[in-house]
């Protein structure tokens, strides 16, 4: 048996995306830029997907730029913006942090202990006349904490990495103060290789990839038509089902947290008390090595995650959790469980049993890892 609780890393492709992709791969081989009928069929797939994504996000279709994924979208937003100072947060994904490092001249704002970044702290970090952009992730990948996106002084662009928000919480871009917004299909039952950067009308961005005039000149290269068909179909499914599905997943998450906190001593939820995406919980198991717990669970057939994987695949303590004030040891003793469409109540119950068994074994082994009295 295998149970998948790592939907923030990637999700199984949903049936509607799979069907759309199969059709696009098998039947539509033209280049969307070609003039003939086959080209026009491919173009129609791309434009239909653009409308489907725009409907999910509540924005005009022409503001949707297709990319290869979240990293490319974040890179394009950060590196394509005009020169000047950038304000961002310490809990961003490496796709943002590393792009900022390439840019230089940026300030990172720390979150509070619950993982939320104070809008006031963002505004205070802005240097009038110097700051050209603010980049705040909409929902955090590790804790699920949803950040408030503040109104900025005029003339400053707001980018938000929405990779972990889109498809999990309602996102109406026309009602949010954002100018640029990144997302990727494989986090919401779409395929890998299809991402989106929303670019508000009137925002000037410089491309990072050069060639043909695809995607309003922002992203040269023949469109990945099958993947775009997939992300479009996944977005359309969510437009119709998001509120029911997120309520269902929220109930599962509640069941999971309640059972673990009740049955396993020394557990607490990182980011509790802040608004969170309904599918994510990050739980600290006081005194335990998260790495051993993760491997134990995997050997028992349960996929979860811990911290960040470095290039070798070894786990390093999460920079998000340490930014929230957790010690390295506390960060290493934390696991992330992220739920999705394929999970149900009996999966969650099986997971809780497996976690309880693995934790009991690990705690029995190590007298040094006794549960601290609280």
């Amino acid at each position: 048996m295998s149970f998948y609780f790592d939907n923030n890393a990637s999700t199984p492709v949903g049936p509607e995306a799979l069907q759309a992709m199969e059709r696009a791969l098998a039947e539509v081989y033209g280049n969307p830029s070609s003039i003939h009928a086959q080209g026009q069929r491919a173009r129609r797939i791309v434009e239909t997907a653009r409308e489907q994504v725009a409907a999910l996000l509540g924005c005009p279709p022409k503001t949707i730029v297709f990319t290869s994924g979240g990293t490319e979208s974040d890179n394009l937003a950060i590196l394509g913006a005009p020169p000047g100072h950038v304000v961002s947060t310490a809990i961003e994904h490496p796709a943002v942090l590393e792009a900022l490092r390439v840019r230089g001249n940026y300030t990172l704002v720390q979150p509070g202990p619950n993982g939320a970044v104070e809008p006031g702290a963002i505004l205070a970090a802005i240097r009038p006349g110097e700051t050209v952009m603010v980049s705040i992730m909409h929902a955090n990948n590790e804790t699920g904490v949803v950040q408030e996106l503040p109104e900025l002084p005029p003339g400053i662009l707001l980018h938000s990495d929405g990779v972990q928000a889109a498809g999990k919480i309602p996102v109406r871009l026309s009602e949010l103060p954002v100018d640029l917004y990144s997302l990727t299909g494989h986090k919401f039952a779409g395929p890998k290789g299809a991402g989106v950067l929303y670019v508000r009308e009137g925002v000037e961005l410089h491309p990072r990839q050069f060639g043909g005039r695809h995607e309003r000149g922002l992203r040269a290269g023949t469109e990945n038509v099958p993947a775009i068909a997939g992300i479009g179909a996944a977005a359309e499914w969510l437009t119709q089902n998001l509120s029911a599905e997120s309520a269902r997943v929220a109930a599962l998450r509640g069941r999971l947290e309640a059972a673990i906190l009740a049955r396993i001593p020394g557990t607490s939820v990182n980011g509790a008390g802040a608004p969170r995406t309904p599918n994510t919980t990050n739980i600290q198991f006081a005194g335990l090595e998260g790495e051993a717990l993760l491997i134990s669970l995997d050997l028992a057939g349960f996929a979860v995650s811990s911290g960040a994987a470095c290039s070798s695949g070894a786990v390093t303590p999460s920079h998000v959790l340490t930014a929230m004030g957790l010690s390295k040891e506390q960060a290493k003793s934390s696991l992330r469980f992220s739920l999705g469409r394929t999970n149900n109540e009996s999966d969650v119950d099986a997971l809780v049993d497996a976690v309880e068994r693995a934790v009991a074994r690990l705690r029995n082994l190590s007298p040094f890892h006794a549960v601290p009295s609280s």
């Binding site: 090595e289 790495e291 051993a292 717990l293 491997i295 134990s296 995997d298 050997l299 470095c310 290039s311 070798s312 695949g313 070894a314 786990v315 390093t316 074994r361 690990l362 082994l365 190590s366």
Partner: protein
């Protein structure tokens, strides 16, 4: 017996370095039908101290190439595989003591520290944590059980050129009871042939030679770079070079650049070849003399571990090895009244008895025990 025969179905954690030996262990145990979990211990980040390796961090222990190879072997065998992060423990238990020993004028053996404190301590703990009954490594040593004493015993590997017991004398009974050395009864050519017959992808890979975290075996450069990285001034250990009679012959740039028995790099013209006889860190002096001055018939060992026998209570004949490439020399072991120290009197004086190296005691191919040379 060639090695323990775990009960069928016992989960075995295989320490996989990416080299041919540990890869063959995995393939061999897999052929025997045991459920396996492969693990690579990430010990040192090869991207640290980049000034030491201008050509970049490739081809050495813990490099991404090794992880790639280990992962490929695990994937071919279809066994679960993980990279486990032991970097903090390695730095604490191996690198820092190594530097401390070196600066105190001793010549430490990091591989023994690593075996004692990381590979057979933390790795067994990790194996326990994931529910593995045994660990297996590619070391060349043989294990068996002696019914009369009720003790596990370690013997030299069958291949005299590859025997690794000099580095394994720190293993405790409870560790031996959980450890498998499936290659101990084989020679290296036999292992290579076996690897080829088992289609191990790394069958023709070169052996690793140097100390994994010290590029090119240049300890002094490593220590300089480490202190620079930590933002610490390097301890000043410049001083005089003196003869055995105390006559000042010259100056040196730091006692840690010298090791007992060293001939090159003294920078002193003399009629007869001069060797380092001793380093005196307190006085920051290096004592030099003739080859004959290097001979010692006696040594004291501390931190003694009795591997295969109960602690001695009366003098015992043995063969004692004082360097990895030293031919074990006949000697008598004298108990001192405390179990963790022993005095060794050689039948014939031995050249370059070096403080900080290990003295390992054998009775034929049986490893009696070992300790650190005072």
């Amino acid at each position: 017996m060639p090695f323990h025969r775990p009960e069928p179905g016992s989960l075995i954690a295989v320490a996989m370095s990416g080299g041919v030996d540990s890869s063959t262990v995995a393939a061999l145990l897999h052929r025997e039908g045991y459920p396996l979990v492969g693990m690579t211990m990430q010990l040192w980040n090869q991207r640290r101290l980049p000034q030491l390796v201008p050509e970049g961090p490739t081809g050495r222990c813990c490099s991404l190439d090794d992880v790639y190879d280990a992962r490929a072997v695990a994937s071919r065998l279809g066994i679960p595989y993980y990279v486990v992060n032991f970097e903090e423990r390695f730095e604490r238990e191996v690198v820092k003591p190594f530097i401390g020993e070196y600066l105190s004028g001793r010549t430490p053996i990091p591989c023994t520290l690593c075996n004692n404190h990381v590979k057979f301590d933390d790795f067994i703990e990790m194996a326990d944590g994931v529910g593995a009954a045994f660990i297996a490594t590619g070391h060349y040593a043989r294990l068996g059980f002696d019914g009369t004493t009720g003790l596990w015993q370690m013997r030299k590997g069958a291949d005299p050129a590859k025997d690794q017991t000099y580095f394994l004398w720190g293993l405790k009974q409870h560790q031996l009871a959980r450890t498998l050395f499936p290659l101990g009864h084989l020679t290296k050519p036999e292992v290579r042939a076996l690897a080829a017959s088992l289609n191990v992808p790394t069958a023709s890979k070169d052996d690793s030679q140097e100390i994994c975290f010290v590029p090119n075996g240049d300890y002094a450069a490593f220590i300089d770079a480490y202190f620079a990285e930590q933002g610490l001034p390097r301890p000043e250990t410049r001083g005089e070079i003196v003869s055995t009679s105390g006559k000042v012959l010259g100056e040196h740039g730091g006692v840690h650049n010298f090791t007992v028995g060293q001939r090159k790099g003294l920078g002193i013209a003399a009629r007869e070849p001069l060797y380092v006889i001793a380093t005196e860190p307190a006085a920051q002096r290096v004592v030099v003399g003739s080859n004959d001055d290097l001979l010692r018939a006696f040594l004291a060992a501390r931190g003694v571990n009795w591997v295969s026998i109960h602690p001695i209570t009366e003098p015992r004949r043995a063969q004692v090895k004082i360097r990895n490439k030293h031919a074990a020399a006949p000697a008598t072991l004298f108990p001192t009244g405390t179990q963790d120290s022993v005095e060794v009197r050689f039948d014939e004086p031995q050249r370059a008895v070096t403080p900080g190296q290990a003295a390992v005691f054998y009775d034929g191919d049986l490893v009696l025990g070992g300790g650190w040379i005072e």
